[in-house]
Symmetry: none
Amino acid sequence: MKEHALLTNKEQKTYDFIEKYSKKNGKHPLLDEIAKGIGIKSKGVAHRYVKALEKAGKLKRISNKHRGMILQEKKSIFFKSLGKIAAGGPIEAITDQQRIELEYLFTNKRSFALKVTGDSMIDAGIHDGDWVIIEEGAKVYKSKVHVVLIDNQDVTLKFVEKINTSEIKLIPANKKFKETIYPFERISIQGHVVGQVRIY
Amino acid sequence: MKEHALLTNKEQKTYDFIEKYSKKNGKHPLLDEIAKGIGIKSKGVAHRYVKALEKAGKLKRISNKHRGMILQEKKSIFFKSLGKIAAGGPIEAITDQQRIELEYLFTNKRSFALKVTGDSMIDAGIHDGDWVIIEEGAKVYKSKVHVVLIDNQDVTLKFVEKINTSEIKLIPANKKFKETIYPFERISIQGHVVGQVRIY
DNA sequence: TCATAAAGTTCTCAATAAGTTCTCATATGT
DNA sequence: ACATATGAGAACTTATTGAGAACTTTATGA
């Protein structure tokens, strides 16, 4: 079997058929349906093509499962047409790393999103109306923005600093706001900001 | 049985029936009703399908309880566990509207992303290292941030203003940078910013 | 309360459908 | 000659589906 990622004629034809079938029927085809769809009789051969497509990264298979295949989206979640603007410009290539971070941001079960109200973190680039993605956890990180619950009632975004064994300092990123100090009992760290989304 | 997201024909049929029944009757069906609804006689088999749906995350079951099942909502891209922090806090409910906007942002074919270099737009909350999502188009919008190609070579983010029939003004959002004026011929508007993502 | 009916759960047996692996075969280009 | 691409089809394994018995738990009404 081949090692390269290029598809042969029939493999491409198989892929096209699977894509068309899936879009039309809302489910993936059977091997016999693929065989018929690409004009051959042997489901064994169809199976061979599907495995080749898996190897080429075009789809994932679930072994033995009926209709057990899932087309792989070109889903760099949205970094689609990058590099379009101009050659030579200050455009960074997209690395898989970035893509993975994004997927993590958007699918991690221990994270959720909050809509920001107010300007207390504006110097950290967090504006009124932004969405921040929060990773749950009570841990305090230096120079990270935290979600802090005060008196079991008010939620706020602030930098956090432990100042001694019983008190904690909340630091806004806006010179118009003051730093405040609370005893541990009144404070609960809900998580910290790992991402941010703004929709214009 | 293994765990995968794909449903078999009968599992899908079972799900559809439960959904339809629930909507119509305001309560979930009995196993015998499911069996009849999907055209089989054995409630044991119906039970097997319901368990499969639970495994696939399509519903939750309450063991032994009559009509003990709850359909799971379809999940939005990432605004998952919102409202978790505290009742009474300044947390906005997620509307479907927001979800749709996000999906649009991330999947629209006429948009792409750029990584920001430099601080020329920092007063607009666009920081070095941020990703901006660009919607393609040559149109100029007042008070929107545009991607501008200068001399077919340099790409920059700026506010844009037409000042007369032959010249255009590029306005940074940082007092340390100056506004600049270019003739139309040297400028090409590539698109404008519709979204922004930051990963901490 | 408590007996009883109703509903959920677990199980085996079975038949069929679909996926998997294999050999054999032909053609094609290097 | 040799590797690659392609196709047929047999033999085998696993998944899917269905029936129904036996059992446990829940709901209900006298």
